[in-house]
């Protein structure tokens, strides 16, 4: 640190007198008069020490204020843990993590949270399945395909999606989306099957036909291709048709279900996934892409085989951040998940209502509040502890990934 004179002349009015170093004996009187006018120009040994002390104190105060965020984190862990501990003392860990019977008000009460933990997991999984492919491909489009101007136009869309309050998403899910899903959920699913199934099936067929054709002699390639395309095309059509017919007759009992929440959470996680993975893709560098293009690869091949593997850790970090956003979300799941503490039958049936950790905490605290000290109150803190541990480990993981990839890039 350089020598700190904290009361210098203002930059706009530089003083013609150079600051002396300590009290010079003979000219003391003159300096004293100056000192009266502008004490800051003079530093006695004592004043100097005071100043150092002050600087030290000042930066100490700054450090103290800065570390308040660390203190807050520790406090959060401490307070959640302190109120979660009595639950484990009262009821043990076994029932909490293995039973699906959630009857906190029954006599005797049951606190099996497996169904609720499962609910959080399946909703998060649904959100990730939706947001990661869309988000990563949008990020690819933003970083590699779109010109600069168009990118600037898309940025506000991402920012607005990220800025809309979660309660507005929840309100939309409950009031607008749930009735639509309830009335025509089966038809929507069937249409989605057609829209997704046909192009994906067609592309997969083309690849398979090409790969098969490459294995036979040149003169029979055309025949093999057409045979594969013809028979496979019929298969794909029949498959998609059968699936769509099965989905179309499904009657959605309630619009507030896991599918609704997964879709909305997926939309909410999109901005995080897009912006973090776009950063990662940009960081992968131009040379990699140019090298790949020079070898004759198409853009898709370049991105899929070169850029995405190089940016893999960044994209993984994006996925983790998306998971954190989805698992910690409260309002949407509280309003639109149906709040039924059950494992759907079969487990992947997203059209059943379910319940998540966050919604349970938000919903049950109001009733448990008055009976502070009961297992019912403390079980909510135990759930918060789970959430906290998940988000903490996700955070550490994403940080570790970023640090590792930085080391790798920097060598």
């Amino acid at each position: 640190m350089h020598d700190d004179r904290s009361q210098p002349p203002l930059p706009s009015r530089p003083s013609p007198v150079p600051p002396p170093s300590g009290g010079a004996g003979g000219e003391r009187g003159r300096w004293m008069s100056l000192r009266r006018r502008r004490s800051s120009l003079l530093l006695s040994a004592r004043a100097n020490m005071m100043r150092r002390l002050l600087t030290w104190l000042g930066s100490g105060t700054l450090l103290l204020i800065t570390s308040s965020s660390a203190i807050v984190v520790l406090f959060i862990f401490y307070f959640i843990f302190r109120d979660a501990l009595p639950f484990f003392q009262l009821r043990g860990l076994g029932e909490f993590l293995t039973s699906t019977g959630w009857y906190p008000t029954a006599n005797p009460p049951e606190f099996g949270s497996l169904a609720i933990i499962f609910g959080s997991g399946i909703v998060t999984l649904g959100a990730i399945v939706l947001s990661v492919p869309l988000g990563v491909s949008a990020a690819v489009c933003l970083s590699d395909v779109l010109p600069f101007g168009a990118r600037q136009a898309v940025k506000p869309v991402i920012e607005i999606l990220a800025a809309i309050p979660s309660v507005a998403y929840g309100f939309f899910a409950l009031v607008v989306f749930a009735p639509v899903l309830q009335d025509s959920g089966g038809r929507m699913l069937a249409i989605c099957t057609w829209v997704i199934g046909l192009p994906v099936g067609a592309l997969a067929l083309l690849i398979i036909a090409d790969l098969l054709a490459a294995r036979v002699p040149v003169e029979r390639r055309g025949l093999v291709r057409y045979l594969t395309l013809g028979s496979g095309g019929a298969l794909v059509l029949i498959g998609v048709y059968a699936l769509a017919q099965r989905l179309a007759v499904i009657e959605v009992v309630s619009g507030t279900n896991a599918l609704n929440v997964s879709i909305i959470l997926g939309i909410m996680a999109l901005p995080t996934v897009v912006s973090v993975s776009e950063d990662a893709l940009q960081a992968a560098g131009r040379e990699l892409r140019e090298g790949s293009y020079a070898l004759g690869a198409t853009r898709a091949e370049t991105i899929l085989r070169v850029v995405i593997p190089a940016a893999g850790s960044g994209i993984l970090a994006a996925v983790i951040l998306g998971v954190m956003r989805a698992i910690g979300e409260t309002m949407v799941v509280w309003m639109a998940s149906g709040n039924a503490a059950q494992v759907p039958e079969p487990w992947y049936n997203l059209l059943e209502p379910l319940r998540t950790l966050t919604a349970t905490i938000a919903g049950d605290m109001g009733e448990a509040d008055q009976v502070t000290g009961s297992a019912r109150y403390h079980v909510l803190f135990a759930m918060a502890l789970i959430l906290l541990l998940i988000s903490f480990s996700c955070n550490l993981a994403s940080e570790w990934i970023v640090v590792r990839s930085r080391k790798k890039l920097g060598k």
Binding site: H2, D4, S6, P11, P19, S59, L62, I65, A70, V73, L74, F79, I80, D83, L134, S137, A138, C141, L142, P156, V157, I160, L161, A163, I164, P165, S166, V167, A168, L174, V176, L203, I207, D210, L211, A213, A214, I267, V274, T298, E301, M324, G328, T330, M331, W334, M335, T358, I361, A362, M365, G366, T372, L380, F381, A384, L387, S391, C394, E399
Partner: protein, 453 residues
């Protein structure tokens, strides 16, 4: 693979990228459109004569003479309805006991439905609840209620494998062959004369107190509560965030302590908002006892902790973006480090810091979970801004926009009746957050222009 296939795959890959961007924009549009359209309907709508009567009685607005004339005209149009009911009562008195019993139930239902549509019938003692004193104030709701007067819903259980299917039965069928049968065509034909729908601009929706659990009036307590919570959160978060950022950028080295601090800050950013709520309850209210129970102060502190990482990161970025030459120039003129920071670096980075602050304000205004246990109540009066009793305002619990959106949409006793209020609240909140974010985007654009030269 063949070149054609590779090209096709490349095209479809690009197409998928465009499709996902399109889907992203489309979902934004799909979410915002109903909120904007129906939220706008809370401010501009077809108001009936009952709306103007309600405004006059509850808020003392409008010209009394004009209103009296309008009410009289509506009453005149409604008079045949009540006359027909009275005639039917007389007819009923002459009927035999069994026949009478058959009509009594449907008649009671009809009267209740008419009361909801038009308000209390003439001659009936004034009801206590404000919601019972007036008919439908909005033409769109009045049409729904009119439909309920004309039809009743029955459930068809004829197919035992399915749930009951609702079937609408005209009420006219219940009274077929009696004098009351002519009531229904009359109602259908003269609805407009009885209710006088007129385009109404109700901007006071924003600044009116709510009346009778949001049946009438506006959302001022919620708006004010959100304002206080956001203000309080920034009051705590801004100084702490900026100072932390200054320390991290200008003073901190590379030590273990600092990397631990940084990990803590990013952990704080990742903590789920509901955990903040529990922390606020356990720490600020149950341990520190800043107030006895829920209060704006406790909610603000919780929100401040929530937005702190955002403020720190934005300020850090802003401080780092100040060119190093600024600092060097200040130091070369003899300024001390602290002086250089306060008088040169901080002013230069101020727009960037403000951008982060504005975004954090949007976040604090929209967060619901942290204030559930620390600040929000569903009904309450906020202390008026004009009285400037800020300390008093900070010590009491408050309704707030995000919490009341949840509360009205899920827990209110008549969720469907007050959809317009819910949409109005969501609209207000979203517009508030979007305006804050647009400000931030505009500020950032200006800064980047300035930095480019």
């Amino acid at each position: 693979m063949e070149l054609g296939t590779r090209k096709l795959l490349d095209r479809s890959f690009t197409g998928f990228g465009f499709l996902s961007i399109f889907l992203m924009a489309a979902s934004l549009l799909v979410i915002l459109t109903p909120i904007f359209v129906r939220g706008f309907g809370a401010f501009v709508f077809q108001g009936t004569v009952e709306f103007r009567r309600m405004q006059h009685v509850l808020f003392e607005r409008g010209d009394p003479d004009e209103l009296a004339a309008e009410v009289a005209a509506a009453a005149e149009a409604r008079a045949p309805v009540y006359r027909m009911l009275a005639e039917f009562d007389a007819e009923l008195a002459e009927m035999g006991f069994l026949e009478r019993r058959e009509y009594e139930g449907p008649l009671q239902e009809l009267r209740a439905a008419l009361h909801e549509l038009f308000g209390p019938a003439p001659g009936v003692p004034e009801p206590v609840m404000p919601r019972d004193k007036f008919g439908q104030t909005r033409w769109d709701r009045a049409q729904v209620k009119l439909h309920e007067v004309l039809y009743r819903v029955e459930y068809d259980y004829s197919d035992p494998t399915r749930m009951g299917v609702p079937v609408e039965v005209p009420r006219a069928d219940d009274f077929a062959g009696t004098s009351l049968a002519q009531l229904f065509p009359y109602l259908q034909a003269h609805a407009e004369e009885m209710l006088h729908p007129r385009l109404t601009v109700y901007l006071q929706f924003l600044t009116d107190e709510s009346q009778d659990a949001h049946f009438f009036g506006g959302i001022w307590p919620e708006v004010l509560g959100t304002f206080y919570l956001t203000l309080g959160a920034m009051l705590f978060a801004l100084p702490m965030g900026v100072i932390s950022a200054i320390y991290l950028v200008e003073y901190a080295g590379q030590g273990r302590m600092i990397s631990f601090l940084r990990t803590c800050i990013s952990t704080l950013a990742g903590v789920p908002s509901i955990v903040f709520a529990l922390f606020g309850l356990a720490f600020f209210i149950n341990t520190l006892r800043v107030t006895e129970s829920k209060s704006v102060l406790a909610g603000s502190l919780t929100l401040a902790v929530l937005v702190l990482p955002t403020v720190i990161r934005a300020s850090e970025e802003a401080l780092r973006s100040v060119p190093g030459t600024y600092k060097e120039a200040a130091l070369s003129l003899g300024a001390g480090k602290w002086r250089a920071i306060v008088s040169v670096i901080l002013p230069a980075s101020l727009p960037g810091i403000l951008t982060g602050v504005v975004i954090s304000m949007g976040r604090a205004a929209g967060e619901t979970a942290p204030i559930i246990f620390t600040a929000a109540v569903s009904v309450g009066k906020a202390v008026d801004v004009l009285q400037l009793k800020f300390w008093e305002a900070f010590q009491q619990p408050t309704p707030a926009l995000p919490w009341n959106i949840y509360n009205l949409a899920t827990e209110h006793e008549a969720v469907d009746e007050i959809r317009h209020v819910q949409f109005g609240m969501v609209f207000t909140l979203v517009v508030l957050v979007l305006v804050l974010n647009a400000t931030a985007i505009a500020m950032r654009a200006r800064i980047s222009k300035k930095l480019k030269g």
